[in-house]
Structures are given as structure tokens and as C-alpha cells.
């Protein structure tokens, strides 16, 4: 149940340096070209997706202001859109965002049990992120895969016909994946060993 005191939270602009790579900018120009001239705002949602993916999984004020600049629209227009759609995260999330479908068809096929199991397994409540910033657990509404209920998505990758065993496997796999650091993330000692 939703709590009734809404955090009327105001965010802070940190003026950190945000910019897309030239390749991404090119991709964005292509997206903009799909819409008639003067209608570049249409590209906002696709670009926010790209921004979220490239800048660490969530959108902050600086990112949104940067996108507003790219599209020549006001920042508030971006905030309005980013807060409307549930796929955009304004607050930081873990590396893997686990979104369990909790709507009717999944619920009658065990979706609620899956959610409870994940809460126990990850030691967090719905809406929280694990301490190691690896997993965020979210409940989402219908993912449009009711025939393979219960389902969840991890960073938009679908997992279907879930049961406890499958969850264990998925979490184990994600945990092990995250242990492999990219070369640039390694300390020189790690590199030598």
C-alpha cells in the first residue's frame, strides 16, 4: 500500500559534466531525423532511454538538462516526461534492476511468491537496492507476457515461467557476471594476478 505522505522531493543540479560520445550523438541525430522538422521533441523518450542506459541506469537533473539542450526544449518538459513513465528512474538504482510483474495473471500463477522469495533472497524490500548496489527490486505492472507467467525482467531482459530454482540460477548468474571487472576497472595488482 502506498504511503500517504509523498516526498515532495526537490532535486539538485550538480553541474557535473554530461555528454554523449560522438557515436551516440550520431545515433541520436538519426532518431531525430525520423520526425518532421520542428518536431524533434518526439525523440525525447527514445533519447531518455539511451541516456539512462549510458549514464549508469538512472536519470539525474544534469542528464535531463543535457537532453533538454540537445532537443532545444525546456528542462521542465523533460522532467515532466521522465517522471510520467515508469521505465525511467530518477533515483539511483542497482546494476541489475529486477522488475517482477505483479498484475493479475502473473499473481494467480505465483507471481506474489516469486516477489516474496526475491525479497528474502536479496534481503531487501520491494523498491530497495541491495547494499552492494548490485540489485534493485521493483514491482511492475503487466509486462505483456501473461502466457508465460510468472515473469520478471532484469534490465529489460525477460525471464519467463519463473520458479524458485530459476530465480536462484538467474541471481547466481548475475552475481558471477558482475564479478568480472572490465580491464579498466582492475587495479594494477589485480591485473598482475
Amino acid at each position: 500500500m502506498s504511503e500517504k505522505l509523498f516526498k515532495h522531493k526537490l532535486y539538485v543540479k550538480k553541474n557535473s559534466d554530461v555528454s554523449f560520445t560522438p557515436e551516440t550523438l550520431e545515433k541520436i541525430q538519426t532518431i531525430i531525423s525520423h520526425y518532421p522538422e520542428g518536431r524533434q521533441k518526439s525523440a525525447l523518450i527514445p533519447i531518455l532511454h539511451i541516456a539512462q542506459e549510458e549514464f549508469g541506469g538512472s536519470l539525474n537533473v544534469d542528464i535531463m538538462d543535457y537532453v533538454a539542450g540537445l532537443l532545444n526544449i525546456t528542462p521542465i518538459e523533460v522532467y515532466e516526461v521522465a517522471t510520467f513513465y515508469s521505465q525511467f528512474y530518477i533515483d539511483p538504482v542497482g546494476k541489475y534492476v529486477i522488475e517482477v510483474c505483479q498484475t493479475g495473471p502473473c499473481a494467480i500463477c505465483g507471481g506474489e511468491d516469486i516477489m516474496h522469495y526475491l525479497e528474502e533472497k536479496l534481503q531487501i524490500k520491494v523498491g530497495e537496492t541491495t547494499e552492494d548496489k548490485l540489485f534493485s527490486l521493483k514491482g511492475v505492472e503487466c509486462l505483456g507476457a501473461c502466457g508465460s507467467a510468472p515473469v520478471m525482467q532484469v534490465n529489460t531482459e525477460f525471464h519467463e515461467f519463473l520458479d524458485i530454482k530459476k530465480i536462484d540460477e538467474i541471481i547466481a548468474k548475475l552475481r558471477s557476471e558482475s564479478e568480472f571487472k572490465k580491464p579498466e576497472e582492475l587495479t594494477w595488482k589485480e591485473r598482475l594476478s
Binding site: H8, Y11, V61
Partner: protein, 319 residues
Amino acid sequence: MFKVTIDNKSIEVEPGTTILQAARMIGGDVVPPAMCYHSELKDSGGKCRTCMVKVAQGSVADPRPMPKLVASCRTEVMDGMVVQNITSPEVVDARKAVVEFLLLNHPLDCPVCDQAGECDLQNLSYEHGTNTSRFEEEKRTYEKIDIGNLIQFHPNRCILCYRCVYAANQLTDNRVHGILYRGEKSEISTFIHQAIENDFSGNMIDVCPVGALTDKTFRFKNRVWFLKPMDAHRECTKCSGKATLWYRGEEVYRVTGRKDKYGEVHDFICNECRFEKKNSSDWVIEGPRKIESYSVINQNHYKNVVIPSVINPIKETME
């Protein structure tokens, strides 16, 4: 010209006129109340659902009734259209429902609200509301946010009419606030820490139908019904300079745009006129402003207010 009949009263209007505008031309009880529509703000209306009416006959050409109630503020008349406002029990019922919905989460803090006495929602619930509430849940509340030194913002009171957003969009050159989030969690906000500051931001106060946006410089200074409104004008390079000054004794307590009987301002004023010109000497006084509205602002006229058979008791007694 199109002929339209509303609650058995007919009028001829230009094509393109909405039902609400036609009703206002007829005047009186046929006029549906409106919370989110503002005739000076493009695209406003259609959201609050208080102005819904029944179209009993679509037009001469297509006399079928419309299947659902329609928002009179955004539905254009057709020739031969027959509309029912308070003569339709369905409309009265739906309006009651809308008032109930609007009040679910609206705080009942009229005694400490600066808008009291000139609040559209107060008037609306006075006319169409009930004395008891069926809502047992906790009301939705928000933490306060500061939007600058001129405008006081009470998010709890907002009914999401979008008027201030349209006003900021259409009257100012840089809108910094908007509707954020979705559904029941929607809210008016600037999203980041910043003040709403531009030459015309004060008009957001005038277009707000409730006490969500009020004049910070007037906050808790006085009750509006103790003040005497005077129309006045001044030479202003930024705006029309046509305003209403609100006096108590010789002192100007606040300056607002001139609201008509539907609570609409047609000549928007700039922040300089509104917030900085609070001396009589700044203005040319035209004379007392007649408050035509049946709002509780005319509190001295409360008489026989509880007459169940009379739909609009205050108005009746005022006239």
C-alpha cells in the same frame, strides 16, 4: 448562427462557440460550474469534469443524444443542439460525484486558507457537496516546497486543474514548473530547487481556483471578505495596468487582476503592478468593484442559507 437550447432557454451563437460559452451568454442557473477551464488560457479545460452536461439532442441534422455526458467547456455547439444542465438528474448526480472526488484529498483547512471566501472549490462544494464524507482513508499530503518570495505554494490543496501550467506556458517566456509524476501521485512542482520568477508569474495566483497558489505578500494578513475591492488602473509598460486593489481602511492589502463573475481574469497584470504598487498614489482609482460572484466573499449576505429546495441558496439571497 447556431441555435442552442440549454435547460429550455435558447440562444443563437457563432459556430465554434462551446456549450459553456453559450450557457454563460444566457447566464443564470444554466451556467455549469468550471474548475479547470479558463477562457483566456488556450487548451485549458476538460479535466476536472465539473462542467459536464447532457446533450439530449446532438443537432438538427443528427438529433441523436450523445451517449455520455460531455465537458461543456470543450464541446462546441451544433445547430439545434439541446443541452441539459441542472434539469438533468444525471448531470446533477455526476457533478456531486466530481465534487466528492475533488474533496477526497483536499484538506479542509479553509479556516487557515487565504483563498477562503474566493475559492472556487469552496463555492462548488457549497452548492453541490454533501455534509458528510464517505472517505475513511488518510488524505494525501505533500511536503512543502518553496517557490520564491512572491508566491506561496500549498501542494496539498492543488486539484490539478493545470491552469497555472498553461498560464506559465502562455504568459511567461520560461516555464519552470509543471505537472510531475503520474496518476494520483501527480503534483505541481519545479522538480529542482528554484524560484518561479518572471514578470508575469503572479498571474498563476489569479488563475488558481483554490488556495494552492496564493500571494505570499498577503499571506495571513487579512480575510478577503474584510477587504474592499476597488478597480484601478495605472500606466504600465509591461501589462494592461488594469487591476483591483483590495483595501482595508486606507491601506492597500493586495493587488490582483480583475476577476469576472466566473472567477476569470481577462487582463493579466505584471508582477510590478501586483507586488510593488501597493500605494493608492500609484493608481488611478475607478470605483468600487462589484463582486458579482455568488462566492462566500459576500459573507454579510448569508441569509436563510439552508433551503433544501433551492438549488443555489446564496445566490438567491444575494440578488
